[in-house]
């Protein structure tokens, strides 16, 4: 656990440093680094059990964390690379390599696609193997055999009418695209069946609606890579109402959802302005543990890791692996949004943002 210890030291030092400006690259780079170090220190907890394709294995505690690691490390790799190129900055290059290393680890865990093919053979009409595959495919990691096998199944009527929430349906459509398969539905129509796509009364927001909303935006934008995927009415709607949702999510100590909402803000065609997100980031950054990780909700009262799966969930890892990946994802996207606004490397006050900010 070398990286773990190093992360803790870095945080202790930074506690005495002057307050970070969360419209600055360095502050976000620090968050990404701390989170990735924690993930690397706990990489063994993402590893798949030998019996992953046994129907009795609970995929929620095996395939799901690994799939999320693949999804978010794909996005962090690409985003950190964008920032590194903009700033010509070695630290962001290191972060991109670090995230890419995690993605490669996940790819090795699924035996370069063969595990997903086994899962698809075990449950040929389930969409999740393809959804997980798409994270790898969008990073250029492909398995022809998997694509060929799934390609036949997506042509069935049953596949087109799989009963799923509309936001997840958007994810399946995006996955078909990444796997170079024919699309079975029109994403524009599916979007209008999602909670967000209906431009709902913003006071009806709750945690479930919040996660549906964030995933709708992630699918529309390919996890932040394509802000133009957000239609103008949704962009305007989100600028109107993100401030109240962020405010109340912070108050309710919904740290994981706060990260996802910040990631949404950074994925918009006109990114959420720094003057609004600064206090949110300040609060979120302060909620991280000394080891760079972030827990999902509520006060951080959890004890040490129980180490190993046999102790059974939930333990410290299960309550923080997702939010730790999410905080790195949101911080990297926020930094990338600064580059899109042309903010320079040092002393960058994000004036360009304010000009384009939607009130």
């Amino acid at each position: 656990m070398t990286a773990h210890t190093a992360g803790a030291t870095a945080r202790v030092e930074s506690a005495a440093a002057p307050e970070q400006d969360y419209a600055d690259y360095a502050a976000h780079g620090g968050i990404v680094r701390g989170a990735l170090e924690w993930v690397t220190a706990h990489q063994d907890r993402f590893a798949l059990p030998a019996d992953v394709s046994d129907p009795r294995t609970d995929l929620n505690w095996s395939m799901k964390p690994l799939g999320e690691l693949a999804r978010l490390s794909t996005s962090i790799t690409r985003t950190a690379h964008t920032v590194a190129e903009h700033l010509h900055d070695e630290e962001w290059r290191r972060l991109a390599r670090h995230a890419r290393g995690l993605l490669d680890f996940a790819w090795a865990e699924i035996a370069e696609g063969r595990v997903l093919l086994e899962l698809a053979r075990a449950e040929p009409h389930a969409t999740y193997p393809l959804e997980i595959y798409s994270a790898f495919a969008s990073a250029g990691l492909r398995d022809e055999e998997f694509e060929e096998f799934t390609g036949a199944l997506v042509r069935t009527r049953a596949w087109a009418f799989t009963e799923q929430q509309p936001n997840r349906r958007l994810g399946v459509l995006a996955a078909e695209h990444h796997a170079r398969l024919p699309s079975h539905d029109d994403p524009t129509e599916v979007l209008r069946r999602t909670w967000l796509g209906s431009l709902p009364e913003p006071w009806t927001f709750d945690v479930a609606a919040g996660y549906a909303l964030t995933h709708t935006v992630f699918h529309l934008t390919d996890w932040g890579a394509r802000p133009a995927g957000v239609p103008a009415d949704l962009n305007r709607y989100l600028h109107h109402w993100l401030p109240c949702w962020l405010d109340t999510c912070l108050e309710d100590q919904q740290w994981d959802l706060t990260c996802e909402l910040l990631a949404v803000g950074a994925s918009l065609p006109a990114p959420y302005p720094p003057d609004r997100y600064r206090p949110v980031w300040r609060e979120l950054a302060a909620r991280r543990a000394a080891d760079g990780s972030l827990h999902e909700v509520g006060p951080d009262t959890e004890g040490p890791d129980t180490e190993g799966r046999d102790d059974g969930p939930p333990d410290r890892f299960t309550h923080r692996y997702h939010s730790t990946l999410a905080v790195a994802f949101a911080a990297a996207l926020t930094a990338a949004a600064l580059t899109a606004a042309g903010v320079p490397a040092h002393g960058g006050r994000a004036t360009a943002f304010q000009a384009g900010a939607h009130r």
């Binding site: 431009l199 009364e201 913003p202 006071w203 709607y237 109107h240 109402w241 401030p243 109340t248 009130r359």
Partner: protein, 233 residues
């Protein structure tokens, strides 16, 4: 002495009742005073100009008894030198309401300059919503209540107030939500529209269902609905 918050709720219930009926009748029953007269005046001071709201919105002359009590509240509870801005403003609103409803009764305590409203424009959307909700009795259209520096200061900030409404509903702070909703009903205009996606009418209905057991919530929510329906427009 009965407690003040109970007396305020009783009085607010009466206002709601008259507001909803639209009848031309007094808010305060003439024989409802008696031993609790002092408490009654204090309750009038708390609700402030809203005691005359049914007359204002339905454009009826105010009942003499209501006017007398409002006048007495103005006289009995003048804002002290260290009064908060909201106390000063709610006092100002009572004075203005008296001047409108009873122009003949010019009295020294009814005169005086309007307090400062510039501070409102410096508040964050959360603070603005809180302050304006406290000043809910000032949320009356200038078309019926005359010009108001608070309405003028709040007018460009419909989006901020709409955000505050959402926040208040999320926090289940029904009184603040109803107050913010009432302000939005007053301020919605072509130059500073309330975003259509807010769903203000459904929101007011929701607030009324969730928090309307509190007559102060019901007062603001019913006032807002009346305004949305075009009363006093």
């Amino acid at each position: 002495m009965k407690n003040l918050s109970g007396a305020v709720c009783d009085l607010a219930s009466e206002v709601v009742s008259v507001l909803r009926d639209g009848d031309h009748r007094a808010v305060i029953s003439p024989n409802g005073q008696g031993p609790d007269a002092e408490l009654g005046v204090a309750a009038v001071r708390v609700l402030g100009a809203d005691v005359l709201l049914p007359s204002t919105l339905h454009r009826h002359p105010a009942a003499p008894g209501d006017l007398r009590l409002v006048r007495e509240a103005v006289r009995t509870f003048p804002p002290g030198g260290d009064a908060s801005a909201s106390t000063e403003w709610s006092h100002w609103a009572m004075r203005e309401a008296l001047r409108r409803h009873d122009p003949t009764a010019a009295a020294p305590q009814l005169s005086g300059a309007a307090p400062d409203a510039a501070w409102l424009s410096r508040l964050s959307w959360q603070e603005l919503t809180h302050q304006l909700a406290v000043l809910g009795a000032l949320a009356v259209p200038p078309a019926v209540a005359g010009p108001s520096p608070v309405v003028a200061a709040a007018a460009p900030r419909t989006l901020d107030l709409a955000r505050g409404f959402v926040r208040a509903v999320r926090r289940r702070d029904w009184l603040q939500a109803a107050g913010a909703g009432r302000w939005l009903a007053v301020l919605d205009s072509d130059t500073s529209p309330v975003p259509a996606t807010l769903g203000l009418d459904a929101g007011l209905d929701f607030v009324l269902r969730m928090g309307g057991a509190d007559p102060r919530v019901a007062l603001h929510a019913h006032a807002a609905r009346l305004l949305r329906a075009g009363a006093a427009g």
